[in-house]
Amino acid sequence: MGVRILFLGPLRDLAGQDECEVAAPLGWDGLLAAVNPAVAEQLREGRVNLAWAGKVLADKTQLSARDGDEVALLPPVSGG
């Protein structure tokens, strides 16, 4: 199954895709290597939040996704 990575909002344009699947397990370094450099830069800069298993991570480096998990990349929001 692997880990499903979702690109939300404008990130999907930057990633060139809505989602992708990578091999488990997936940590912070693995995620940075799995996405393209433009997305990786936004992740590193702190502009992008990370949701794992339905929770937003306070510390993104704590990511430790396993087979079947979903990891969502959340860029700055604009609701209302």
């Binding site: 909002g9 404008p10 344009d13 949701a51 339905g54 979903e70 860029p75 929001v77 604009s78 609701g79």
Partner: protein, 155 residues
């Protein structure tokens, strides 16, 4: 006709289809019989000539629970007797409602502040992303500096 029944004290929804503002506010008023003050806000797609459509996407596993936490926080902070927070997702055309919030409180300043607080947070602290279609192309809407300044007021 089926009558709209709201959950009390908090009615929070993410809607895939259009919302009837008058009906929702009539139901909210009826449900909040004990409150002296009711405030509502409705945000619509502005018919600004250039904009042909607006699309709102969200991250479903977080959206509704985040909105519920937000409504609960507003209830506690302003002593609200009830609140409604409805947000559309999907594609909308000019004139359509995007978001509706309503608050009920004993006193008017609390009801005003509660609605204001909910809107500032839905604008820039809930998991929605907005893009608009101008001409044939879609453009993502970046959060504005003003939105962040508005949010800071509550910290």
């Amino acid at each position: 006709m089926a009558r709209l029944v709201l959950q009390t004290p908090l009615d929070v929804r993410v809607l895939e289809k259009g919302l009837s503002v008058g009906e929702a506010l009539a139901a909210f008023n009826a449900a909040q019989g004990a409150a002296g003050a009711v405030v509502s806000f409705c945000g619509k797609v502005r018919p600004d000539g250039e904009v042909k459509a607006l699309e709102l996407t969200h991250y479903e596993p977080l959206t509704l629970s985040g909105m519920l936490d937000l409504a609960q926080a507003a209830k506690v902070r302003f002593g609200l007797e009830g609140a409604l927070a409805w947000h559309r997702v999907g594609v909308m055309t000019p004139g359509e409602a995007i978001v509706l919030v309503a608050t009920a409180a004993r006193h008017r300043r609390d009801a005003f502040a509660g609605a204001d607080y909910l809107m500032d947070h839905l604008k820039s602290a809930a998991w929605f992303w907005k893009r608009e279609k101008r001409g044939d192309a879609w453009h993502w809407i970046e959060p504005r500096k003003q939105d962040h300044a508005d949010l800071e007021r509550w910290k």
